[in-house]
Each structure stands twice: as structure tokens, then as C-alpha cells.
């Protein structure tokens, strides 16, 4: 392993100062970064360990009805926070469908947002990858790419963002609080991740030294609590990234959809908010016809980037199903197989 400097700042200001130097990377749980370092994909000169920073591990309800989630809250702790899960059930369900129990116990909120793509060509240092090495080319484009992006990709990069957590977050208008060299600022989560365009090496809108300190869900997010689901199709029942996933949240008033939220995962370099689909659902009756129409709109701009045309049709079907499940109402308890098509199977024993 490449030798690196390890620093453990005592304050956020120290952390930002240390990480702003070239070659630095923040270390939280390291569930992704350490793998990247072992594989030679990331070779930082300096790790800035933020895990001991005070005050970032709390879930705080705020006076305006929003909730603030510290960047160091563990994925498992957030999902199992009963008040949080009740108010934002799709977020809890998404968290529990991600990775494995061991990883969820370690992984942090901030780290989840900033995890790297799982594109195999990004990890294979002998392959050309514009994200790993700007301008080197993309070997995924003509490679083994049946699980790659169908939305928002470019000739330079067809990777997807792997997070489950971010999908309902972006649907619910989450806001990211960032501490940087010039102080605190905020960014809608929808603007955090970048589509590749001609600069795939830039995953996010963050600048050197920027530290995510919290994620905030606005007051409006909890108005969907009774009709919110996350659905994830994967190649085995657990411990696999999404082939495609969707978060659907509905506010139903008098038998009509007063407001809809919809986002897709596993389809693009960012959690994909389906705004036009949301618009068409507003005021519609929650039925199959509306959901089909929403699905068509959500995937209107989709095109295969390789052997993955099936993901477009699968995504449409997942949208319809997620909306159908959301309309049926949030279950009283998170299913034993969260976000799984088999969530309803009785006698399910495993997560």
C-alpha cells in the first residue's frame, strides 16, 4: 500500500484546512475508500480522519419541522431510529436495503453520499477510465456494461452512482450542509452529484477541502410519510447494488395525488429525480394508468449505453410498482426484506 500521512483533526476547521491540501482525502468509516486504496484506485497522500469530530453524529429535529442528520451518523443507526423511520420510511427502507448489516453498522451518512461508482472499469486500474484518470478514455463504453447507466451518461462515462440512501433523499428535496474553506454553505442534494459530461473525473460539486457536515430533510419531506416506499431490484436477495431502484412518495388528498416525488437509482451518475413524472402525477388519481404515464415520462430521455436496454424497461416497471406500493400505503413496519420485491413474502427471516 502507498504510504500516506494520517491526520486526526480536532475540529471541523482543522479538518477543512488539512483536507484542502492537494492529495488529501477524508476518511470516515472507510467502507469504500479503503477498498479503493487497497486496489490502487485511490492513492491519497494524506487521510484526514473525521470520525472523531464532535457533534456530527446526531439526528436532530429542528424547530421548522425539518430534520438534520449529522454526517457521521451510521447508516444502521439512522435506519433504526424509530422516529426518523416513521417520518421518512422510504429513507429507512433504502438504507436497510443497502450493503450488508456489517457495512451499514460502519458506514456513515456523509460517506454514503460520496461513495464512488462500482463500475468495474473504474476499479480495474489496467482499464482506461475517465473518472479515475481524466482524459484516459472509457473502457466500459464497449465493455461488459449490462448494468451501466441509461440516463444522463456521456461518451466519456457511463458509470452509475451506487447509493440507495440518496435516491429517496433526492426525492424528498434533501439539502446538504457543507463546510468549506470559505465557511458553511448549503446545496440541494440534487446538485451535489454531477452528470459526467466531458468531466467524469468530477463526481460532485464539492471543492477541495469541502466537508459534508449534515444532510437536512425539509419539513415537507415528512408529509409523505404514509405513502412512501423504496424498491430495489438486484441480482441476489441482499448484499448487491441495485440493477435499478426507485423511491416513490405520494401525498394523497381526497383520492387524488396532491403531490408526488419520484427518483431512480442505478440508472445514472447521480440519483435521478424524475421531475416531469412528478408533474403529471400531481392531481391525478393514483391508478395504473397514471403510474404508467409517469413511468414513460421518467424514462423518456433514457437510452442504452451498452448491453443494458433492459434496464429502461425494468426501470419503467419499477416506477409503476414503487408508485403502486406507495399508493397502497407505507407498511406499519419496515419489511424483513427491505425494498425487495419479496418484501411481502410471509415468513421472511433475513435482511
Amino acid at each position: 500500500m502507498k504510504q500516506f500521512e494520517y491526520v486526526r483533526p480536532a475540529s471541523i476547521a482543522e479538518a477543512v484546512a488539512a483536507a484542502a491540501q492537494p492529495g488529501s482525502a477524508y476518511l470516515a468509516a472507510g467502507t469504500n475508500l479503503l477498498d479503493l486504496m487497497k486496489g490502487g484506485v485511490s492513492r491519497p497522500d494524506r487521510l484526514v480522519d473525521v470520525t472523531r469530530l464532535p457533534g456530527l453524529d446526531r439526528v436532530e429535529p429542528l424547530a421548522d419541522g425539518s430534520v438534520r442528520i449529522g454526517a457521521l451518523v451510521r447508516n444502521a443507526n439512522l435506519a433504526h431510529d424509530a422516529r426518523f423511520a416513521k417520518a421518512y420510511p422510504a429513507v429507512a427502507e433504502a438504507l436497510l436495503s443497502g450493503a450488508s448489516a456489517q457495512l451499514r453498522n460502519a458506514a456513515t451518512v456523509g460517506g454514503n453520499l460520496l461513495q464512488r461508482t462500482r463500475c468495474a472499469y473504474f476499479y480495474d486500474t489496467a482499464s482506461r477510465c475517465n473518472k479515475r484518470e481524466a482524459g484516459s478514455g472509457c473502457d466500459a463504453r464497449d465493455g461488459e456494461n449490462r448494468l451501466h447507466a441509461v440516463l444522463g451518461w456521456s461518451e466519456g462515462c457511463i458509470a452509475t452512482h451506487p447509493s440507495d440512501f440518496c435516491v429517496p433523499l433526492v426525492a424528498l428535496d434533501a439539502i446538504v450542509e457543507i463546510e468549506g474553506k470559505s465557511g458553511r454553505r448549503e446545496l440541494p442534494l440534487a446538485e451535489l452529484h454531477r452528470l459526467p459530461g466531458d468531466a467524469p473525473e468530477r463526481d460532485s460539486a464539492l471543492q477541495p477541502g469541502d466537508l459534508i457536515v449534515a444532510v437536512r430533510l425539509p419539513a415537507s419531506a415528512r408529509t409523505f410519510a404514509t405513502h412512501a416506499r423504496y424498491l430495489k431490484v438486484r441480482e441476489r436477495t441482499s448484499y448487491a447494488f441495485a440493477v435499478v431502484s426507485a423511491a416513490a412518495a405520494l401525498r394523497i388528498e381526497n383520492g387524488r395525488i396532491a403531490e408526488a416525488r419520484l427518483a431512480l437509482g442505478g440508472v445514472a451518475a447521480k440519483p435521478w429525480r424524475a421531475d416531469t413524472a412528478e408533474q403529471v402525477l400531481k392531481g391525478a388519481t393514483p391508478d395504473a394508468a397514471s403510474f404508467q404515464q409517469a413511468a414513460q415520462l421518467a424514462l423518456a430521455g433514457a437510452k442504452p449505453s451498452g448491453d443494458n436496454a433492459f434496464k429502461i424497461e425494468l426501470a419503467r416497471r419499477i416506477v409503476v410498482r414503487a408508485l403502486t406500493l406507495a399508493a397502497a400505503g407505507t407498511p406499519a413496519r419496515v419489511p424483513a426484506l427491505p425494498a425487495s420485491p419479496f418484501a411481502s413474502v410471509s415468513g421472511a427471516l433475513h435482511v
Binding site: 468495474a120 440493477v243 424497461e313
Partner: protein, 751 residues
């Protein structure tokens, strides 16, 4: 008194013999406490760490390595390349026997597959060696790699598997097909798969002059020793290999591959003990894999659903530099009666590490294709899949015409079907749903694996205190060898298992043969049994010839050994303890040796196979295509069951691998570079807990007087056969979609 006391040896529930008792594994507590020492757990004073640098191209030459940069890295001691490697006593390319495979030992700069070792960096820490390997920054002259089943010229290999004929034929297949009322002509594909034992290949090695001390997981202690001896020009007795535990082998630790040899060379080069452990991704290349196959099955059946012909052709691959051909079509030799059967193979050479034995080589790949085709034919004939299989039940081995030494397959079908509730199955596909609207499918497959034996030797002794010792270098890969062989040893010596010291797991002990081919228990078990019998015979000889013994003169009627005593066969009131016999004879102990091997006369006369029937239920989301196995019942007849507890675990493991084969497992090879793109356990999918349903395993009693004295057939591999096909057939029954490329993918079910 507590109802469950896991620390009390369950031996105390025994009734009569030790064999047949469900003892918990004797090494279990060690493993739970982390005290079972695996090879890489060993740390020697002054030991250095060796890390392999592996090729990123699949074909070509290494043109440069930045050895200087690696050596400059703090902690790096030496870089071993083809320029400075210690010379071997023989060319590693020479195949000195059929169980020798060609290996990379830095003999030149040629690259024959991706992940091939091209250098070894030796350092004071693992981290330094790893970084040193990264700093080598190899440059290559790359040639276009040959990838996949259509990569090159097709040829017919001289043999498949281990010396199996490439073509087998009886009857007139074309006539059988021409006369058939129904025909199936279907092509199935199976992907490359890698063993992925949880424990990576590892070696800790120390030279002492011309002596070698080695900790290394191996499925064949004596074979490995012989290979090391010839490669390094050493006397066998100068090499000591310890392999008390393996964290899985599955065929990839049976024969010496290049990586441990590189470890030995590295230790020689630096003159210090060395540890070399493969990284997970480095296991996708130099240590074998299951080759991909494309299998065409043509079946004919008459109007009554009786098979008229089976033709099974398998295409596979081998490496560019050695020969191992997955004998997939051989799976059609034994299961179904047909007046005409033809099995054939051909192959292409690709730029890959040489394929090798992987749990049920041939049977696993062949079985999923055959069982799918049989299922297709049953449906074409309008018959229930079980009824069709019973209609075509092989009363004798179809091609050879030999009777079976035993075959309780009919009982497996009946008991499995009853347990599963098979009679409620609807014939038509896509006709069953659960309360949640998920498609439900039921499928079945027949399991089979030959009852093989290799050669083994054991030493047994009875000591003055009446206790026993048995020595044999068996291999515990997790299957429970420490326990099952101790049970056989105890019975062989007429002692309780707690009174027998069982010594195993290193190369200074008698040769137990290889732990493979599902033959370890039968082979080493027979040697142990015979060694025990020989000791008892010597002891009986002492007693029956001694006037002072109550057994005097019983030589003609015979004696029985039980609970540390010998008894007259015709009068069990007359007996004497082992210790009394030895004490009077003034002996500290009495010992004997025994061997285990197949009986050629019985093999000539009988076909010997284990059998089974597997029933599976899957649920499939009708719109989203995700599949989950929800129930499996496996019923197996495998001769005598030495330890039902361990056997059940073996069969569970096989059935889970069957699920994996049908639904999950595939090495994804980049078609342009020949690199494996998912060489890690995150992306190389195998079932996780949530994919494994309640498994129900039944064993059917089968008394086989012909396979060996103990009647053991072996259970190591059979569980995967039948199971993969059962799951695949259940997916078809659920969805109506017949997927013939494995693993079954979601997109193929998006109808």
C-alpha cells in the same frame, strides 16, 4: 440438567458403533475460538512477506519491470523476477504425471493469462511488499487475447476430465432421433466459475539447508510433497507440509499451482522464512477454475414418453498451454435409460489460466444442461417431470450395461416428492401464484456422482493403556475429516471415539490420497478400517495363542473387538481387555498398517454411483423478474453415512452451490482484454443468507456391499448436481420462460 450441552461429546448418545453417529465436529470449538491455525496464521521469527505482481494482460510478454523503483521502497528486501529467480531442478513445463499441471514460476517473460504472476516482491511488511509490487509498473508487448467459446480453432481433445474418453456411444442415436415422436434440440451455456474458497491460497515456508518446512493448505499432502520434491530436487523426507485445516478447497488446492512454488523460491532467494498469501483477485487465474461450456442436447422420445436417444455434445475451453477439459457431456452416461446415447466433446484454446477440477467437474455443468433438457422433454411429452424420469429410470448403467452396485434413486424420488408435496404441482408453467401475486414454480433434478476411490494407507496402534492411535494424513477442508475419520478409526479399533488419538493433517503421516472426487472418506476410511482390523487381528493372534488368556483357542471361531476388549464370537462371556493382552505380552503397543483402494474386480462388475433427487420451489416477480428460491428438498442415497450431521452440511453446501450455479455465479470476462472484471466477492455473486431457503436434506438408507468394505460412496460433490437443474426448471415452471444460459438473469425474465 440443561437440555443442550454442546461441550459434552455427543458420542455418549451412541448405540453400538461410532459410525453413523451425528457427532458435532471435533475441531468446532477451536474454530469458534479462532484457535484453529490455518496456514497464513503462522508467523515465523525473521519472516518476510512475499507479494505477487500479476499480469494485467492475458497474452504477450513482459518487456520491463521497474525493479529499481520497487527496491527503493522502504522495507522492500528483494524483487524476484525471471532474471534472478532460483533455478528449479526440473522444468515446470514438464508433465511428470497426469496430475501435474503446468505452472508459472517466472521461467520466462511470457504472459499466458491475466493475473499470471510476473514477479514477486519480498519485504519486511505486507504493506511494503504490496506497494513494491505496485511500483513495478510492468510494460508489456501485448497480443490480442483469445476469449470465449468461439475464440479459435475447434479441436477434439484426446481425453476429457481425468483420462475419460472424449466420445462415448452406444446404440444408433440418429435412428433413435429419427424414430422419435418428440424431439428436443437445445443448447445451454454455463459460464466460467472460480472456486473462491474463503481461505485464499497461502504458504509459510522456511528452508533449513536442504530441508523444507511448509504450512500450506492442500487437498493432497503427499502429491504436493512429491511435486515440491521434484521441482526443488529434494528428498521427500526432507519436506514437511502441515495442513491441519483448509478454509475450503473445492478442487483448487488439490494440485500444486504456481503461487506456493513462488513462495518456496522466494524463501530460497532471500534465505529467510517467507509468507505468501494470494489476494482475492489473484485467485482468478493461477489456481484453476471451472471452464465455461456450451452444451447441445438432442433428445428423442416415443409416444409413451420413453427416451429413444440422448445426444449430449459439450464445447469447452482449455488454456493455451495445458489441457484440462470439463467432461460435461459425461453427465449423460448414467442417469436415464435410452437405447442410444452419444456423448462428445470439443474445445478451443483461450488465454486463461488452465481450468481445473471444481466441485463436481463435469457433473455440475453437465447436470444443469441434462436436467433442463429432460424437463423440456417431459413437458413436450405432456408428462410430469418426475413421472418422465421414472419412466426412463435406468435399471442398469445405460452405456456399459453393468448393474449398479446399489441404487436407491427410486426411494429418493418417492421420499423427496412426498416431503416436497410434488403431487400438487400443476403441469403447465406460469400457473401457480402465491398470496402476494408472485409467480411460483416447482422444479426437480436428479443428482448423481460416481463412487470413486483412490489409494491410501493408514497406521493404527493399540497402546498398553488400552487406548488407540490412528495416523493418516487426511485433509479437513471444512467437511469434517477430523471427526468422520476418528469415528471410522474408533470402530476399526473397537474403541469409543474418545479413546482414540487421531493424528492427521501433515505429510509425515501415511498417505491418505487426495481429498477430491468425493472419494476421501471412502479411500482413507478404508485404509483406517483395514489398519484397525489388522491391529485387532494381531492382538487376537496374541490372545488366542496364549494359554493364560480366556480367549485361548478361539482362533478358529474368531473374536469380536468392542469397547476395548476382545470377545469370543461364539461366547461373549469370555473376553479380555486390550490392555491385559498387551501387559501379559510385555508390549507397550501393537501396531499395523492398512490400505484403501478400489476393488478392480467389483468395478469391472458393477457401476458405482451415488444418486439423489432435488426438488425446488422458486418465486419470481412477474413484472420485475427477480428470482428467489423459497424451498428445497434434497434426498440422497450415498451408501453408508458415516456422520449424518456432517453429511447433511455437505449436502446443504452442495445444494446452495446449485442455487448459485442456476441464479448467481459467473466470472465476467472482458471480451477485449481477457481480464475478469468481477474478481472480488462483492461482485462475483454467490448466494447470501437471504438467498438460501429452508433446506431439507434426507438421506435414504443404502447398503452397498460392493463399493468398499464400509459401504461408503461419498457426498462431497453430489449436492450441486441435480440442484442447479431443479432451480432452473422451477424458474421455467414459474415463468414459462426457458432460459438456457446460466446464471439466469433478470432481463431474460422480463416478459
Amino acid at each position: 440438567m440443561s437440555e443442550l450441552n454442546l461441550t459434552t461429546a455427543p458420542a455418549h448418545v451412541r448405540h453400538g458403533s461410532n459410525i453413523g453417529q451425528p457427532l458435532t465436529r471435533r475441531d468446532g470449538v477451536l474454530k469458534v475460538k479462532g484457535q484453529a491455525t490455518y496456514a497464513a496464521d503462522n508467523h515465523l521469527p525473521g519472516m518476510l512477506f512475499a507479494v505477487i505482481a500479476a499480469s494485467s494482460i492475458a497474452r504477450g510478454h513482459v518487456t520491463s519491470l521497474d525493479v529499481a523503483a520497487a527496491k527503493r521502497h522502504p522495507g522492500v528486501v528483494e524483487v524476484m523476477t525471471s532474471a534472478n529467480r532460483p533455478k528449479l531442478a526440473i522444468d515446470p513445463e514438464i508433465k511428470t504425471n497426469p496430475f501435474v499441471f503446468r505452472m508459472e514460476s517466472l521461467q520466462n517473460d511470457e504472459v499466458r493469462y491475466a493475473n499470471q504472476p510476473i514477479a514477486v516482491v519480498i519485504a519486511q511488511s505486507l504493506e511494503a511488499a504490496t506497494e513494491g509490487a505496485a511500483l513495478l509498473a510492468p510494460r508489456y508487448e501485448a497480443l490480442p487475447p483469445r476469449v470465449g467459446l468461439d475464440a479459435g480453432e475447434v479441436f477434439v481433445p484426446p481425453v476429457v476430465g481425468v483420462g475419460n474418453p472424449t466420445v462415448n456411444e452406444h446404440g444408433d442415436v440418429e435412428a433413435g432421433l429419427a424414430s422419435a415422436a418428440k424431439q428436443i434440440d437445445a443448447t445451454y451455456e454455463t459460464p466460467p466459475q472460480y472456486h473462491n474458497a474463503m481461505e485464499p491460497h497461502a504458504i509459510v515456508v522456511a528452508w533449513d539447508g536442504d530441508k523444507l518446512s511448509i504450512d500450506m493448505p492442500t487437498q493432497g499432502l503427499i502429491l504436493s510433497r512429491a511435486r515440491i520434491a521434484e521441482l526443488f530436487g529434494l528428498a521427500h523426507e526432507n519436506i514437511h507440509i502441515r495442513s491441519p485445516f483448509l478454509g475450503g478447497g473445492f478442487g483448487s488446492k488439490g494440485l500444486m499451482g504456481g503461487p506456493p512454488v513462488l513462495g518456496i523460491m522466494a524463501a530460497k532467494l532471500v534465505g529467510k522464512p517467507v509468507k505468501l498469501v494470494l489476494r482475492r483477485e489473484q485467485m482468478y487465474g493461477p489456481v484453476g477454475h471451472r471452464a465455461p461450456t456450451r452444451q447441445r442436447l438432442r433428445l428423442g422420445a416415443d409416444g409413451e414418453g420413453q427416451l429413444t436417444a440422448i445426444e449430449h455434445h459439450a464445447r469447452t475451453v482449455s488454456s493455451s498451454y495445458d489441457d484440462f477439459y470439463e467432461p460435461a457431456a459425461d453427465a449423460s452416461h448414467t442417469l436415464y435409460a435410452s437405447p442410444a446415447i452419444r456423448t462428445t466433446h470439443d474445445a478451443v484454446r483461450v488465454d486463461t489460466g488452465t481450468p481445473l477440477f471444481m466441485r463436481a467437474p463435469g457433473e455440475a455443468t453437465g447436470s444443469i444442461a441434462l436436467e433442463s433438457a429432460i424437463d423440456e422433454m417431459a413437458f413436450a411429452c405432456g408428462m410430469d417431470p418426475l413421472a418422465f424420469r421414472l419412466k426412463n429410470y435406468a435399471e442398469v448403467e445405460p452405456i456399459s450395461g453393468k448393474p449398479f452396485s446399489s441404487k436407491a434413486l427410486r426411494a429418493c424420488y418417492e421420499q423427496g416428492a412426498t416431503r416436497f408435496g410434488w403431487s400438487k404441482r400443476k403441469l403447465a408453467p406460469r400457473g401457480m401464484r402465491d398470496d402476494a401475486g408472485l409467480l411460483v414454480g416447482w422444479g426437480m433434478g436428479t443428482a448423481t456422482f460416481p463412487a470413486l476411490m483412490f489409494q491410501a494407507e493408514a497406521r493404527a496402534a493399540i497402546r498398553r493403556d488400552g487406548s488407540g492411535v490412528v495416523e493418516i494424513g487426511t485433509h479437513d477442508m471444512g467437511q469434517g475429516a477430523w471427526t468422520a475419520f476418528a469415528q471410522i478409526a474408533a470402530d476399526g479399533l473397537g474403541l469409543d471415539v474418545d479413546r482414540v488419538e487421531f493424528r492427521s493433517g501433515h505429510s509425515n503421516l501415511p498417505d491418505a490420497g487426495i481429498a477430491g472426487g468425493s472419494a476421501h472418506t471412502a479411500t482413507a476410511g478404508a485404509a483406517i478400517h483395514n489398519a484397525g482390523a489388522a491391529v485387532i487381528a494381531k492382538l487376537a493372534d496374541l490372545a488366542t495363542k496364549d494359554e493364560r488368556s480366556p480367549l485361548f483357542g478361539a482362533g478358529n471361531t474368531g473374536v469380536i473387538a468392542r469397547d476395548g476388549k476382545l470377545f469370543r464370537r461364539d461366547d461373549e462371556s469370555r473376553g479380555e481387555s486390550y490392555s491385559d493382552i498387551l501387559a501379559r505380552a510385555g508390549l507397550a503397543e501393537i501396531e499395523a498398517r492398512g490400505t484403501g483402494a478400489a476393488n478392480p474386480a467389483a468395478m469391472e462388475e458393477y457401476a458405482m454411483h451415488a444418486h439423489g433427487a432435488v426438488f425446488a420451489e422458486v418465486k419470481v416477480d412477474p413484472e420485475l423478474g427477480q428470482v428467489r428460491v423459497t424451498r428445497m428438498v434434497g434426498t440422497f442415497a450415498a451408501g453408508r453415512i458415516v456422520n449424518p450431521h456432517l453429511v447433511k452440511s455437505q449436502l446443504f453446501g452442495g445444494m446452495i452451490w446449485g442455487v448459485s450455479f442456476a441464479l448467481h455465479e459467473e466470472a465476467i470476462t472482458d471480451r477485449r482484454t481477457g481480464r475478469i472484471m468481477n474478481a472480488n466477492l462483492g461482485e462475483y455473486h454467490i448466494p447470501v443468507n437471504a438467498d438460501v431457503p429452508s433446506l431439507d436434506v434426507l438421506t435414504v438408507e443404502e447398503h452397498d456391499p460392493h463399493v468398499n468394505a464400509l459401504g461408503i460412496k461419498g457426498v462431497g460433490e453430489i449436492g450441486i448436481t441435480g440442484s442447479a437443474g431443479a432451480v432452473a426448471n422451477a424458474v421455467w415452471h414459474a415463468t414459462g420462460v426457458r432460459v438456457r444460459r446460466f446464471p439466469i438473469r433478470i432481463e431474460e425474465l422480463l416478459v
